[in-house]
Symmetry: D2
Subunit: 481 residues, 4 copies
């Protein structure tokens, strides 16, 4: 997943805090640990006793907040922050969150992780009624719904709005007097609450952000919940009872940091289990196990332990690859000049290699890595993938919205094996994945969204239904892509 | 070695090429894979049929060459490049290499990796005779020696100069008609030659740079050799017969990339062997093995395999840590807010952990990591170090020039264990290190410089002798540092 | 007016074009000549056959459009542009215009010069009905009014909105199919139409921008008019008949470029006449006439010609003063270290100087310049001001909204003379100003707004009425300011 | 001279100070007033009780010292600074001055204004003896000469070096204990000494820099002098008696700021006299007088006064023209789109205009301005130039080193008139120039270098002799240029 084209992308990370004198700085450090969830832009809105100020820009969090003095403008003991994933060609600062809204009677900060499935129709409807949007983001729609609500009580307005938007969402809303967190009825995106030693409450997309700021984990936010945090503590409320846990399984497989726990399951451990399960599901006669860095190292070590094969560092990722603007020309690429990933000849030469990766999207990356290993002298390359084949688009926050880019939607495992040049190819079974994660849930879906693997979407698709149906008929060969 | 203070630092990486139409670009990609050897600045000098042009600046290679158009000024089919390590407080662009010298009768590019032990006296002597230096770098001195040589033949001038400088050095010298590479009589720094498919010759500090540009490894440059590459091919010459291989053992332990081979020994394999040897040398009753990322992961997996304990991802390094300008205030630090390294609670909680690291310099980092693991619930933390205790300064290119900063110079192993808060502490033995690397060498020193461990310097110390003798008498407690 | 504190500030410049293949570039050059009307930020929205794209940022136009490639994103044969004046402490990119609005059914670009007097109440009213604003600018309100209009025809919506906003405004509105320009019922701000040789229509805040792009002047936009330009040519329409020309007299006195004509009157000529009139109104026994550069040089040369005294370059302005970030410390300032303006000792030493300036706001600048001349050896300094005393705030687009900062609101001419240290002080009379400009107008106000001099506001003050009434009672001495 | 191509360029400005606690800051303000003498780069070297530190970079002084914190590194009570003129295509930071030299036994800062005529041969000779140069600047050579001098006493070394270099030069040399200023034997470049109220001594290229820092003028540095300033005061010494004042007349005509005095003559006054003399030398039947801004405004006002014609602002220069990166394309240029200079239609329409400019180099600029005025409706344009025709190159510091670019070297006045499209054309006579400046000097050359007008060079041309002789034979028509 890490070579040349990063094809699966999360949409955003959230961090919020209430009750710390250095709220914006703590938010900075929290967001820093969530940087893997989005690299296009970042922002923070701070709340200084009811006065909200914000700073946001394109770039990594370290660039956006390069200068200490920016924090002078972000005073206050509460803050929310956001890192945004780069959707191609839309790099406008207007879309960078949190949004800061100033009204004659109130101010709000708002940040969002996820994707609304009825955003297009909601937006059109609002515009027909005079609404003006200032971004392409589907975050803004919630604020319009809140402001136009006829309810009298503010929390009732918020709940009405939350019941109107559909799809996958985790929201952080900063008002002048409280921090509100809300999760969609399926809990597609993770969101956890913790508490710092000084009593400050923290909400974050992943528990790794709690650890980084030394906050103690309290609980995961649950589907349909809306959490209100203010100077009196935190209160759990619901905006709907109609919920069904279906957490995105790709969080465990690929997105989340290995040191995060989601619904009590450690991500590294889940991945290691996926590797173990893979080894049990398929016996391969080989010499060494090599993981594709960095996201597949846990699964690889699990595979190695279970299979008894040695775990080796056969692929090395350049640590300095971020922000490399100069790319090899086509000619240099053909000459084998590469930057991101190197095969370790001294390790793989003459060996039968089990190469563990987390997923295959278009197949081009896998093909390149297999080729890399063979050029470095590997005798055989057996590819094992710690997830089932990706066949269906996601509409809840991952950036695969067409089947055209999914090789497994259009090709059999054997065809894929041939395309990527592997000596054998194995995917983790769906049940193997469910068992490896081992989520304790009595609910349908075993608490996991596996729609990308089996097309079983936990919700209606609304604005995407038509596009989806059309995509089912598409038959695209790899070579056209 | 990777937490908060990076205390051991290499001084620079070299890359040179002769015979490729895109020489500067290939150099860029080569340097990119050597970025770990120096992050302060970078530069390239290109040779366009005798016309030399250069570009250099402070920053990572990706920043220095951020814009494609820079390469328009770096035309030609030969080039040399350099990445420079940041010595504190001296961040002047004047010191960034390669240096480009324009004379009325010739032009030269010059790049250097290493440290001269007689630089101060040579420089003073030259200045007394009218020489003007424009940098603090000890690279410039070679050019002065060449230009002032009374020899008639150019290569004789170069050899005379190489016999005048002492210490550790690898030089790349670009003339209008050839690329010259030279290595000191002890071969302290690695330097390898390879060849691209189109016939271009490549010289690089590490073989990983050969791999990245798809060049085939030909041979290591040997102590006392001077290599001349031009349109007729490459020629091996010597400037001295008085050589004694003593390659820096820290290259194997910590500096070099795991995918590099040095004198035929793969670095990852050497490190894995160090871990295995450690496990054989010391039996520890524990539950899991955790390596300090990234440099100790190989040793940790070796330790795990040899000991039979599971290898776990108990520490996670933030991939986005480079260029983070905002640091936690002292207050936030005390509250436990941290950025670079996280312990994985889900993995280490309740476990007896073997923590594998590559070295202990001042001890502060080790103490913090041990503490991190314990805060995350580790029941016991046993620290094993894949090198002997660092007791003596290095004068050949590593940035430890005083014993004051070396905890092992002043404290027993038991004292260090107590200081860092470990339950037990083991260092690899000197013989264990030599065996793990397994260099085939009949020479004294087993072909390795182990001076930082045992004070046995392979050369006179010249300008540093006095400082060294004084440092032997220093007795500094950890707490003063 | 040009020394240390620039106290009177215009709010913005506009440029629009329809029918030129390089519309955005021509807009750039037009805006460049309007840079004196605003230096905080700039932007351009281009229209490529109905597809609108924009670029805006903080900074001078030359910075905002520093890179040629920005224009690749601004294709199309129509464009509008804006330069914005820096109101203190509000340097957010959100306020930089033109605004670009994207709706499901249409896109618009909108730019504005002026100040609405009922902006606060309109905005509050809109927000109470669910509107969300994204800037502090009073430009956005027009778009909300248009989108919420119940009229069916688009131009009827626009006219309704124009009749709802009050105060001083010149708007440029880019739709997908036309460029619309509108002026408030008093014509407070100048706006002129021209035509390029290729037939393209151009609208600009000042005629100097027409000259720069070699467009022929057609006519001034008149109060209450709305101009529609499209591929069929341009059409003049009105949204109201209730108009009363009252062009801002400060445009002639200080803001506009001397090469611009406003309602047929050349600005340089008007200023020269002000100087002549001043010389006729007050005879001064002196040796030389010196203008404060750059805005008072025309008036000074008029004064010199009429009085027969020689016109001398007794004050020199540093041409490189823009963007100077380092300022003298208080200590250096006291030692007389200065940057912006120098007195020419060789010219003024021993002389009785008539110093011509265009206005006195707080008086601090005048005091410093008088002092500068005296320190350089001037025997006497007689200050003549080419406008009447500034006594009242402006609510139509100039940045003086309180009487507290106006020395003439609180002090007699004799008191001011003493404060600024002049040997004598004369202001131009109101009738002298009217005559010097010589606008051909039968209307009340002689076609000029002189409210800052006499408090006779041509419109109700709406949201500002209360603040204004309060300010009338304020009595502030210079020394408190 | 100011339209589109700036063809005559000064080479650099100098500022030095000894005895002020804020020496670097004062130097900054001094350099700021000398910015017109060079815009390519700037630097300051400060002396903190013998410890020299420096900062230099490409760009305007305001950019190079954009951040206050830079001055934290420039502590000390003495400093020298330099602004450098941009010679085409050589924008390397290596050439930006002052140079800072660190030797084992001493440190020096060195800055230079002028051009050495024997630089090439001196440099080659030094290189043949082992010297290494690090810039293309001819400044470095002086330091090599000083360091290689066999004299014992330091000032004797300096004097020997000053007697070895030939041509035009003003040097500032900062040692650890003193500030040394030296001027060439002809005094081609101006250099003045002043004193601040706190006693600090200041040396600057122009007296305007003294005024800006409120220093009192003491005296001009004279040809052949070397001034030594230290804590004991300042001492005047000489390195040669063989002197002959020949100050560059272009300083009066074009380069220097109008508020500067050179050898007691105020530059504005000299220019006004040139205008008066022109009016006396040639009677023109016209309506108005217009100067080309900014350098010809003084001459134009002199012409107006003497002729009795009104002085009008018929040409306006855009104040924001510096750093404009986007230029009109050829196509837009042909359509008349322009940026720098505008003709004021309201002023010149229907008028017979006397257009005053300071010089004609290639003629292209004059032709454009004449055309501009005619397009704006001028009935006649009579061009009067406040200097004699430029026919010969300069080798002492102005950037005209070939006759090929000088229209007057190849064409008669009548031919030039026709080329530039003027109705008549007059140049100031040589004697008129000498009289207008009115320098009190009994020496040959009347104390002025007029070589560009008459080819009478005050010194041998050394390395340039051959090139000069060749250029005399060149006959190039305007249309080839």
């Amino acid at each position: 997943m890490t070579y040349e084209v990063k094809s699966l992308n999360e949409e955003c990370g959230l961090f919020g805090i209430w009750g710390h004198p250095d709220a914006a700085k703590v938010t900075y450090f929290g967001l820093h640990s969530l940087q893997h969830r989005g690299q296009e832009g970042a922002g923070i809105v701070a709340n200084n006793s009811g006065k909200l100020t914000g700073h946001r820009d394109l770039g990594l969090i370290a660039d956006v907040f390069r200068e200490e003095k920016i924090f002078d403008e972000l005073k206050g003991n509460a803050a929310i922050g956001h890192v945004r994933y780069a959707t191609a060609g839309n790099g406008s600062i207007n879309n960078i969150q949190p949004f800061l809204f100033n009204f004659y009677d109130a101010s709000f900060g708002l940040a969002h992780n996820g994707n609304l499935t009825n955003n297009i129709s909601l937006r059109q409807n609002l515009e027909m009624n005079g609404a003006i949007f200032h971004s392409n983001s589907d975050t803004e729609v919630l604020m319009h719904l809140i402001r136009r609500s006829k309810k009298v009580d503010f929390m009732e307005k918020v709940k009405e709005a939350l019941n109107t938007v559909k799809g996958g969402f985790a929201y952080l809303l900063m008002t002048e007097t409280e921090l509100i967190a809300a999760l969609d009825p399926n809990g597609f995106r993770p969101l956890a609450i913790g508490q710092m030693k000084n009593g400050a409450y923290v909400v974050a997309s992943e528990t790794c952000a709690l650890e980084v700021v030394n906050a103690e984990f309290i609980r995961d936010v649950k589907p349909g919940e809306v959490i209100i945090i203010n100077d009196d503590g935190f209160k759990i409320d619901r905006y709907t009872e109609d919920t069904q846990l279906a957490i995105c399984s790709m969080e465990y497989i690929y997105f989340a940091r290995p040191d995060s726990n989601i619904y009590g399951v450690n991500v590294h451990t889940a991945r290691k289990n996926m590797g173990r399960t893979l080894a049990r599901e398929n016996k391969i006669d080989a010499d060494i196990v090599v993981g594709v860095p960095n996201s597949s190292l846990s699964a690889a070590s699990g595979y190695a332990e279970e299979s008894g094969l040695p775990y080796e560092l056969g692929l090395v990722k350049n640590q300095y690859i971020q922000r490399t603007f100069i790319q090899p020309t086509q000619e240099l690429r053909e000459q084998g000049v590469r930057m991101k990933l190197s095969a370790v000849r001294g390790v793989v030469e003459g060996k039968r290699v089990v190469m563990v990766d987390d997923s295959i999207v278009r197949g081009t990356t896998s093909r390149r890595i297999v080729n890399l290993l063979k050029e470095a002298g590997a005798k055989e390359v057996h590819v094992v993938i710690s997830s089932p084949p990706l066949k269906y688009p996601c509409f809840y926050g991952i950036d695969i919205q067409t089947r055209r880019e999914l090789i497994a939607a259009n090709h059999s495992v054997e065809e894929i094996r041939e395309i990527i040049g592997a000596d054998s190819l194995y995917f983790l079974s769906e049940q193997g994945l469910i068992d490896s994660i081992g989520l304790q849930s009595e609910e349908k879906y075993s608490g996991l969204c596996l729609a990308y693997f089996n097309g079983d979407y936990p919700t209606p698709l609304y604005d995407y239904e038509e596009r989806y149906q059309k995509s089912l008929g598409e038959k695209v060969s790899f070579w056209e892509v």
